[in-house]
């Protein structure tokens, strides 16, 4: 086959015996063979495992024992997700020979759903700090133009999905690491509510800010992947013990009646975005209005308040995680991660606790603002992808992050492509819902995607 199907399309074709999981996996492997050397999305390709998984899936489909819509779907994992017997490096020299003995819980869940696992994907070192050119492997590049950045840290997942190497994959998001690469690579990616997806077996960066979640070409596909990934995990102390809803249940409800709040000052004054990004958001609001949603303006505290509290907590927690290695193997880290994390050693205990106190105030603020709203809209990235060699070292501190507010508060948030800007590079918006209201988030995102044509356009290299 030539066109790259979405997960939902592939599932239908496989169920109808019009597409073989083996053929689908081989198509992905073919695209990887052709283009991965330009993109560096894969750190490790597990071709034999992928084909074995695909053949087992095909046998289940032929025997009538398929495990569901993800059975036979090609996926891959960000290289901070532990994979039993398969090297897991965090893209770092410190773990270049690390071979875990157990899968991460979410890796197991996706395997049990019948997915075919193609390998391990590039990340920024330990999920923070890229793009780095001084690590054992080069950084991932953007399929829309390989001279440009993917954002990160789930950089390989974003690039691999946009390029059609896989149909879905895992990411993690501590300050925007799912939503950033989803935005710059023109795909969909959701940071679920804190506690919805297990983090057990995923290398930690920041205990109270880390989220695991899926990335895919469409919102609908993210819902399908999240269905397999979500659920209580007693081994994860942050895991929420509550039933997992049907994330696809509301997809067909459209946007009519949705109450949408626009946090305009976030992307117009607090961190002004590019003209194409702003136009994409304004056009999306028009689409929602035409679909019957109600649009209102919302004012929150300055984004710098969220950014300061989030950055102090994140950097302190990451420093605590890495302190033993920082003191003994300081120069084995790449420069970007090392220097950014080293700042954690300069944060006072009082400032950390003030940040944690402020977190509560800001979380209550967002809760109150959403009391009679279903969705918030903001930007997810400030603009089109910059050139990969022009990303500033301290860009994480220079301007407040558009994604950080929802790591700090734990609210679910996702990036959805809203078109293309300068150089044909993707732009996007960020949609946010109330805690554990992912079905509403998917409903809004899917309504927008199906009302627009952006999902029809792939990077040229994806054919």
């Amino acid at each position: 086959m030539s066109a790259i199907p979405t997960i939902a399309e592939a599932a239908r074709l496989i169920a109808d015996k019009k597409l073989s999981p083996v053929e689908l996996t081989q198509d992905c492997l073919g695209r990887i063979a052709k283009n991965n050397s330009s993109l560096n999305a894969f750190l490790l390709l597990t071709e034999e495992r992928a084909l074995a998984d695909a053949k087992a899936s095909e046998a289940r489909h032929m025997a009538g024992t398929a495990r569901g819509l993800l059975d036979g779907i090609p996926v891959a994992h960000k290289d901070i997700y532990n994979t039993a017997g398969i090297r897991t490096t965090a893209h770092s020299k410190l773990l270049e020979d690390n071979v875990p003995t157990k899968d991460a819980v979410t890796v197991t869940k996706l395997a049990e759903a019948g997915t075919a696992m193609l390998g391990k994907l590039s990340t920024h070192e330990f999920a923070m700090g890229g793009p780095s050119f001084d690590l054992p492997w080069p950084p991932a590049r953007n399929p829309w133009n390989p001279a440009h950045f993917t954002a990160g840290s789930s950089s390989g997942t974003g690039a691999a999905i946009a390029a059609g190497f896989i149909l879905g994959g895992t990411g993690s998001d501590t300050g925007g690491s799912i939503r950033g690469p989803a935005a710059l690579c023109g795909i969909a990616g959701i940071k679920p509510t804190y506690g919805l997806c297990s983090r057990t077996g995923v290398l930690p960066l920041s205990f109270t800010m880390d989220h695991t979640g899926p990335m895919a070409w469409t919102v609908e596909d993210c819902a399908l992947l999240l269905q397999a990934m979500a659920g209580h995990d007693p081994s994860d102390p942050g895991s929420a013990n509550r039933p997992v809803p049907d994330f696809s249940a509301d997809l067909s409800k459209g946007a009519k009646g949705l109450r949408i709040g626009v946090v305009r000052h976030f992307f117009e004054t607090d961190h002004p975005v590019s003209p194409a990004t702003k136009k994409g958001i304004d056009d999306a609001l028009d689409v929602f209005k035409q679909l019957g949603a109600e649009i209102r303006e919302v004012t929150l505290s300055p984004m710098a308040d969220y950014h300061a509290a989030g950055s102090i907590i994140l950097t302190s927690e990451a420093y605590a995680v890495h302190e033993p290695w920082l003191k003994t193997r300081f120069n084995d880290y790449g420069e970007l991660f090392r220097d950014r994390i080293a700042l954690g050693g300069f944060i006072t205990a009082a400032a950390l606790f003030q940040a944690i106190r402020r977190r509560r105030i800001l979380t209550l603020e967002v809760t109150a603002a959403m009391e009679d709203l279903d969705i918030l809209v903001s930007a997810s990235q400030p603009g089109e992808a910059p050139k990969i060699d022009e990303v500033p070292k301290w860009g994480n501190l220079e301007k407040p992050s558009l994604t950080m507010p929802f790591n700090l508060t734990g609210f679910p948030a996702m990036s959805v492509c809203t078109g293309f800007g300068v150089g044909g590079l993707p732009v996007c918006m960020q949609l946010i819902a109330k805690p554990f209201a992912e079905p509403t988030l998917f409903r809004a995102g899917h309504a927008y995607e199906t009302a627009t044509a952006w999902r029809q356009q792939r990077p040229a290299m994806a054919g």
Binding site: S311, K327, A342, L343, A351, T367, W394
Partner: protein, 59 residues
Amino acid sequence: MITEEAFDVLAEQTGLPLSAAQKATLRAVYPTLRAMMDRVSEPLPREAEPAHIFVPEVR
């Protein structure tokens, strides 16, 4: 900008094996970090307690 001497004291307290160049890099960005610490330290009501994430019951 924090003085070199004052920053050296802070750097020493971290226990990190920083070279002179690495110290200079961190010293240059320290004012940004300091501004964030000051920002979160603006007065809060005494009863404003630290919190984790959110109260899941609030919908």
